[in-house]
Point group: none
Chain length 205, copies 4
DNA sequence: TATGAATGAGGTTTCATTCAT
DNA sequence: TATGAATGAAACCTCATTCAT
């Protein structure tokens, strides 16, 4: 049953406008999901933000679940891509760790959705989302392994534990940095990096 | 709706029995909240665990929200009390930090509810819960301040940032330690403590 | 909502082209109604078949209900006309009955819509549709009455019961003949005619 | 997670009362389905008939679909059982056919739901329902085959076509017998039986 | 002390329909 | 002539909660 309408090439202009509106819808969804979590976010919340009625969302989105999954996928992929770029850049191991941690904490708010996705069990598309999360963790692990290969780190360095700790530091500050200016976030990120790299306590002489 | 049982004068024996049953109900609620989060947990889930029907819960509890709030309060207070005891115990600063971190990570699973409370916004009783959370953070801060007073830490030590980092490490591993035996959790806790105390990276000689 | 096109004075050529398109729309509607029934057929189903969007249908049709009613009317009238022609043709009573029954069963599939109309209560335009159905039944009755007049049938022949029985045989095989080749349908029609004319059971000698 | 409440043996009296109420609900559903068909029947229709709110139905029934499936199953099985009993009874082939046809037409109204199930495509539980329908047809076929074995029917008797014709006669009169008194239905059933057994037309001498 | 039955508010979703462009 | 966007009503369903027993 060929759908002539669907096949007819849409003018690129129109197509772009449609996509933009769709993005607006997904952004609104993301904002609400970030604010309330998946279960407590209602389609009405999302629609209100756009001046639409709940039913109208379905013109752009298949279901609440699908919207959530797509939002998370997009954010998660962006997150991963940014970290990958940072960790692959030239520079000392320390520099790259600091940069990665900083970007995570700076983007955390906007990408709060990913955080939700990681923390709520039994969510739609949970499997794929966990995969994205694991990938993120692997990125950190890989940079440590490269450090071992480059003899910047000892042979027995526990890459997994270190990655976990870094991730914990990244995520743990979400609440503390809410509504804080970037400068302050950066300051905290630097502190966290210091702790991770050199330890928080003064060294015994 | 006043609790009929509460109005009746009770023999101490009866009162105790009732309280025990109430505790069972709250424990069941805690377990379900921990497993599913507040919104996804149904009164039926809780009732099932006790061999009751949903309506019967209301003999012990005013509402789902009230149950959640109380569960969180109890767990949170227990959590705080344990940490306070540990931090107040004699021993070096390092020892106390290690002990505090360890107990947090070991109890995290059972007390997952607090974690939920901290992570889901717009939850009933959220205000009070945040207060408990802040208190927990203050406990860590206080031990650092004591460290400064005792000259174990430098004058300009950033107590708040350090407390935040420790909390982040404590909470960040929740997912990594799910379904793991205590031994392994302890191992990870020790690693995290090492990172925090001495830094993860090898020190330049 | 007045049809804008209808208000405009149209050239005969244009008018014809419009009507053709309208017929296409109604045909598509008929096909979908036949396949899914009235309630389960969506305007999107119909539009898809034509490469249109749902809203565009309303250029040709006032509403889904109106479309259904018109489709049924058209099909029903065609059905009636064909039966009338057959029953009015010269030939023995038996021949005409056989021919009528055959054409009904052969066209049943294509005209399934009428069947739907007859079977679903509380349908739009139901009254008119029932009228068409009654007319169809009357056509059969009339041929029997003519048979009485021509003394081919006894005076007390129950024309109504006979018409009902014939109709029942006609319609009852819809499911059995779905997806069957015309040959097989014709074979079954012949059998049914035999039963009706001579009885299914062997005659006592 | 053993459900003590569910395991606790309910008093037989209570259990029976519950079942009765459930039957009432299913009966109401059956009535509405029969009157409007599955798609057009709303949960509100059913609930209204019982003086309940729509949501309350779900105390007794899992879903609208499940209710429909169960209603059809029950009616269909009853229908089959009655026919089986009739066809298995002693008596001449003719007697049994007459009796079977009569009971079908008399019960048709009450069991209209089965008819719906047979006629609406793409219905929940459609597969199982078709199976029930096929079983019914087989019952008729089997009695003919027994007739062949007993030499009451010729070797080449077309059992399937005969069964189809009988079924068609049974079902075809549904609309004609609506709101008619049993006497009249019985009269029509007798006529139909005559037609099937001996033919409608006078025999050439 | 607990149950069975019911409520009612609210949630997601579908879909016929409208209308400016 | 047809589209894209949106509406709004109504559908099914869930669930915390109530209350007579």
């Amino acid at each position: 049953m060929a759908n002539r309408a669907a096949l007819r090439a849409k003018s690129p202009h129109l197509a772009k406008k449609q996509d933009r509106r769709r993005d607006e819808v997904l952004d609104a969804a993301a904002a609400v999901f970030a604010a309330k979590g998946f279960h407590d976010a209602t389609t009405r919340d999302i629609a209100d933000r756009l001046g639409l009625l709940p039913g109208s969302l379905y013109y752009y989105v298949e279901s609440k679940e699908a919207a959530f999954a797509e939002v998370c996928r997009r954010r998660g992929e962006g997150f991963n891509a940014r970290l990958a770029a940072i960790l692959a850049a030239p520079g000392s191991l320390e520099d790259r760790l600091r940069a990665g941690l900083l970007q995570h904490m700076l983007h955390n708010r906007a990408d709060l959705v990913s955080t939700i996705a990681m923390s709520e069990r039994a969510l739609p598309g949970w499997r794929d989302l966990r995969a994205l999360g694991r990938l993120y963790q692997r990125l950190w692990e890989r940079v440590f392994r490269a450090g071992i290969a480059a003899r910047e780190l000892p042979r027995d360095f526990d890459c997994r534990a270190a990655a976990l700790a870094l991730l914990a530091l990244c995520n743990g500050a979400v609440h503390a940095t809410e509504n804080k200016p970037p400068r302050e976030i950066a300051r905290l990120a630097a502190r966290f990096a210091d702790y991770f790299l050199n330890g928080a306590l003064p060294r015994p002489a």
